[in-house]
């Protein structure tokens, strides 16, 4: 038993209503409330609402983490718009959260891959890396056939090299042919093709 009575002010982690505490004026209370809010999907709407106006980096990270813990298609949808933030720190927080909920992200992938913003499409390619789905290589191949920005193609090729197989090779060659003057994409496609061939059953390592 402690000799001195603990008079330290406990933040709102023990609060019965984390959703209400998310709007506290105290960043410490908002942080604790965000951490607690991730325990219950019922707090999703409140988390999404405060995320839009939260300016404290630590609280924002806790909100992203809470949304990732809830891990539903709705919580992924709440995070996705932050991929287009001007603030790299916010983009990173959003991307980390989305990476942590691959199954929830799956429902929105086709939309993200068709986004008008090339940066969102590029980050969406990266999200496929963590999705365990046998169709994932096919999604990337279909995407590569139509994507018109070389940088975005390079991101897709990078992921395809990890999760694809030799069936992706014709897509890679067609992509290379569409961007004959891009040295990095040519390099990326060559490395990816070598890797896919090396990983093919029966190939010598």
């Amino acid at each position: 038993m402690p000799l001195i009575k603990n008079t330290f002010h406990r933040p709102a982690s023990s609060s019965p209503d984390p959703a209400a505490a998310l709007t506290s004026v105290s960043p410490d209370e908002r942080w604790a409330a965000a951490r607690a809010a991730g325990d219950d999907p019922v707090n999703l709407a409140a988390l999404a609402q405060v995320l839009a106006r939260e300016s404290d980096t630590r609280v924002r990270e806790a909100i992203f983490t809470a949304l990732a813990r809830i891990a539903t298609p709705e919580s992924a949808l709440a995070v996705l718009p932050y991929l287009r933030s001007d603030d790299a720190n916010i983009r990173t927080g959003a991307l980390d959260a989305l990476r942590a909920m691959p199954e929830a992200v799956k429902a929105h992938l086709s939309q993200a891959l068709a986004d008008a913003d090339a940066d969102v499409r590029l980050l969406a390619c990266d999200l496929i890396r963590n999705i365990r789905d046998e169709d994932a290589p096919r999604w990337l191949c279909e995407f590569l056939e139509i994507e018109h920005v070389a940088n975005v193609c390079a991101a897709a090729v990078d992921v395809l090299a990890e999760i694809g197989d030799v069936q992706a090779l014709p897509t890679l060659w067609r992509c290379a042919a569409r961007f004959p003057n891009d040295p990095f994409l040519a390099f990326a496609i060559k490395v990816a093709a070598d890797r896919l061939r090396a990983n093919a059953p029966g190939s010598r390592v």
Binding site: A88, N89, R91, T92, D119, A150, N151, A155, F184
Partner: protein, 128 residues
């Protein structure tokens, strides 16, 4: 005594990008180290400071701008290592954010061999 090779730390989460830069820079006799994000880069800097940094913006765990801001607050000589930011982000606000964070120069991907070697030489104080 053998001359020390100039060292460049590449900070980028994309393995293909790191591989691409490494191939170009090693062909020009630079020594190359890699980090997958800003946090890993900060750890590597504690052990051995490079002559130059090549930094991406969008990376997991710690993005390039946060990394540079943290680096520039550290003690000399680490805080003065020249940093070239290379990113797919081409907006004026991205370039301004990188400069404010401590980038010495900003280039937009994709990059050809000649451009990368030219900037690496310039940042390391080699004749063009």
């Amino acid at each position: 005594m053998a001359e020390r090779k100039l060292r460049i730390l590449i900070v980028d989460d994309a393995s293909l990008v790191r591989h691409y830069y490494r191939q170009i820079l090693e062909a020009k006799c630079f020594e190359v180290e890699e980090a997958m994000n800003g946090l890993e880069a900060l750890e590597k800097l504690l052990v051995n400071a490079p002559d130059m940094l090549i930094v991406d913006v969008n990376m997991p765990q710690m993005d390039g701008i946060t990394f540079l801001r943290t680096l520039r607050r550290q003690a000399l000589p680490q805080s003065s290592i020249p940093a070239l930011v290379i990113s797919t982000e081409a907006g004026a606000q991205d370039i301004a954010a990188a400069r404010a964070g401590g980038a010495n120069f900003y280039l937009v991907k994709p990059l050809g061999w000649d451009v990368l070697t030219q900037y690496a030489a310039m940042f390391c104080g080699l004749p063009a």
